[in-house]
């Protein structure tokens, strides 16, 4: 397989196409617009559905519609747009239809800026919209991983009949790296007897998120929770670097994970026993494995491009049994590995 040099946004778009994405609906917002632009050419050339919606609200509801028809469907956006999509995501989850949503995060709150950020962690992993739900959240740190996780996202969406998101930040969207694009057979998808394809030769299908009366809605919620339990049992993913003999373990994901990896390597070169634990599924968060890792180390250093959002999950995982340090940058500021190394050094020799 020949390597090709791709930009993160392009890589995600191309991966979706190869995963058999049949329909894309989106709205331009920096720094993910290249996904929309890539789709506007490639999907049309392949005879698939592409439509630029009038807003993120419309885009997610177009996704909802196409998902009801049983199509493999995706949208992509950045933070502010992701906020607007919360309503639709809540409906899609409750309706139990599969969809993929990419969020290439930028600075917030408010209009913020277009620089890379990880400020949407809470919104993405804790539900985001109204009601009791979570969506699967996959965090790539390299472009190859972005490709692999995008493909996985479609399969997981099908498997659990729910929304699967990619949590990327602007840097992942904008950098370029050599990647390998897998050749994929047409996707093996589960049967979709629930899809709205016209009531021909069968009873009519209804897709709704309206369940009047307490017991009905409770039943749906219990089923959604059961699905979440399955997801928690089956889909936890993470990466570990230099954990062997590590006394200070940095916990970071996405671009921060990438920066931390360089910092950890440099720390090791200085003789500091540092390691990296990088969650790949932010939901389900790798609580158990992180707890296990924490048992044999002295300190954790949580590093995020936010005020400390994943930090709460790290504290939950370890129940504050060991010192948990935090280093975060907000508002689109991206620290260098040297700055993270300084934090590690501070812990090593206070």
């Amino acid at each position: 397989m020949a390597k090709i040099l791709m930009k993160g946004n392009e890589a995600i778009a191309e991966a979706a196409i190869r995963a058999g994405c049949e329909a894309y609906f989106g709205y331009p917002i920096t720094p993910q617009t290249e996904i929309l632009e890539y789709m506007s050419r490639q999907m049309v050339e392949l005879g698939r559905t592409f439509l630029q919606a009038e807003s993120e609200l419309a885009a997610i509801n177009m996704v909802y519609g196409a998902a009801c028809a049983g199509s493999r469907v995706m949208t992509s956006t950045s933070s502010q747009g992701f906020s607007l999509m919360q309503e639709g995501i809540s409906y899609i989850v409750c309706s139990e239809v599969p969809a993929v949503v990419i969020n290439v995060m930028r600075g917030g709150p408010g209009l913020g800026n277009i620089q890379p950020s990880q400020g949407d962690y809470f919104q993405m992993t804790k539900g985001g919209g109204h009601g009791d739900y979570h969506v699967i959240v996959l965090a790539p740190a390299t472009l190859q991983e972005a490709i692999d996780l995008t493909i996985l996202a479609f399969d997981l969406a099908d498997k659990y009949r729910s929304v699967v998101t990619i949590i990327a930040d602007g840097m992942i969207g904008q950098i370029m790296e050599p990647v390998e694009l897998p050749e994929i057979e047409p996707p093996q998808r589960p049967d979709q007897p629930w899809a709205l394809t016209g009531a021909k030769g069968r009873e009519r299908n209804i897709i709704t998120s309206l369940y009047l009366g307490g017991p009905n809605l409770e039943e749906v919620n219990l089923r959604l929770q059961k699905t979440l339990d399955e997801i928690k049992a089956n889909e936890v993913r993470y990466a570990e670097h230099m954990l062997e003999g590590a006394e200070i373990v940095v916990v970071a994901y996405g671009t921060a994970g990438r920066i931390a990896q360089t910092a950890v390597k440099e720390a090791r070169e200085e003789g500091i026993p540092a390691g990296l634990f990088r969650p790949i599924t932010m939901f389900p968060f790798p609580y158990a494995r992180l707890d296990e890792v924490a048992k044999s180390v002295e300190h954790l250093l949580v590093f995020e491009l936010s005020a400390g959002q994943m930090l709460e999950d790290v504290r939950l995982a370890t129940r504050d049994r060991l010192p948990i340090h935090f280093y975060g940058k907000m508002g689109g500021v991206v620290p260098s590995p040297a700055e993270v190394l300084t934090e590690i050094e501070k812990i090593a020799s206070p």
Binding site: L57, Y64, A66, E87, G88
Partner: protein, 253 residues
């Protein structure tokens, strides 16, 4: 002599009795849509989208594949459904709050794109579901629970004329306003709904049938008085008529 049923429940309706108040014209419009679907023999390829509003449970009454949209988003959802299966017939059923307030952007852009779907727009000048508040289509001076002194246009703005607005979009193929107050106006409304679906079948673009409807409960009128109010007051502000009929649709008549 043998006797034969000449008028009965259309196949495209279920046997369920609706939750609508006595005399509410939602029921008439539901039946008209179902009759048209039966006549065009498209029941097995038609997908409906229910709104938020009194018709939120419409999917219980149509014997069709149906989806329930978020408030105002039915045209976007219909767009998604239709784009991935262009051979199906997709329609939205929306009230004035859903279509003309929270979902104004979605309906305008679906029309403007010439999205090949049909919108059935129920205008009863009030928010029924939430208990009789002002709608974008509430008439000047009309008393509602949120305009207790009558709609003061200086304060609350003017009612929105949807058919006229949508008719200005280039993508709209067929945009008309009807009412369902008498057998004759009902027959005319049915013809319009049929033409709207036919236009979609012929891939001519977006179609919208606005139907002036009654809300006896929230208007505080008997069902018969309510129909009189539709004819006298509503039709005066919202004139019945054909607001846009492109030539290709005319030739379907």
């Amino acid at each position: 002599m043998e006797r034969k049923a000449v008028f009965a429940n259309p196949e495209a309706l279920t046997d369920d009795l609706t939750h609508y108040c006595p005399g509410c014209t939602h029921g008439i419009v539901h039946r008209l849509i179902a009759e048209v679907i039966d006549e065009l023999e498209i029941r097995e390829i038609t997908i409906g989208i229910a709104p938020v509003g009194c018709a939120v449970l419409a999917y219980n009454y149509f014997n069709l594949d149906f989806a329930e949209a978020a408030h105002g988003r039915a045209p976007a959802m219909a767009t998604g459904l239709k784009r991935v299966q262009p051979d199906k017939v997709v329609f939205t059923y929306q009230g004035d709050g859903d279509l003309a307030a929270i979902g104004t952007a979605e309906i305008v852009h679906a029309a403007s794109r010439g999205e090949n779907i049909t919108a059935i727009f129920i205008n009863n000048a009030i928010y029924g579901m939430t208990g009789g508040q002002m709608a974008p289509t509430t008439l000047p001076g009309q008393v509602t629970t949120s305009t207790p002194f009558g709609r003061d246009v200086k304060l609350a703005g003017y009612p929105l004329r949807v058919a006229e607005l949508i008719a200005t979009t280039s993508g709209a193929a067929y945009v008309v306003r009807r009412m369902v107050t008498k057998p004759a106006t009902i027959a005319s409304a049915k013809k319009a709904i049929k033409l709207a679906f036919q236009a979609q079948r012929a891939e001519l673009g977006f179609s919208l049938v606005e139907i002036l409807s009654s809300c006896p409960t929230n208007w505080g009128l008997s069902p018969l008085e309510a129909l009189e109010w539709v004819e006298e007051s509503m039709a005066a502000y919202y004139p019945l008529g054909d607001y846009k009929v492109i030539d290709e649709v005319k030739s379907l008549r």
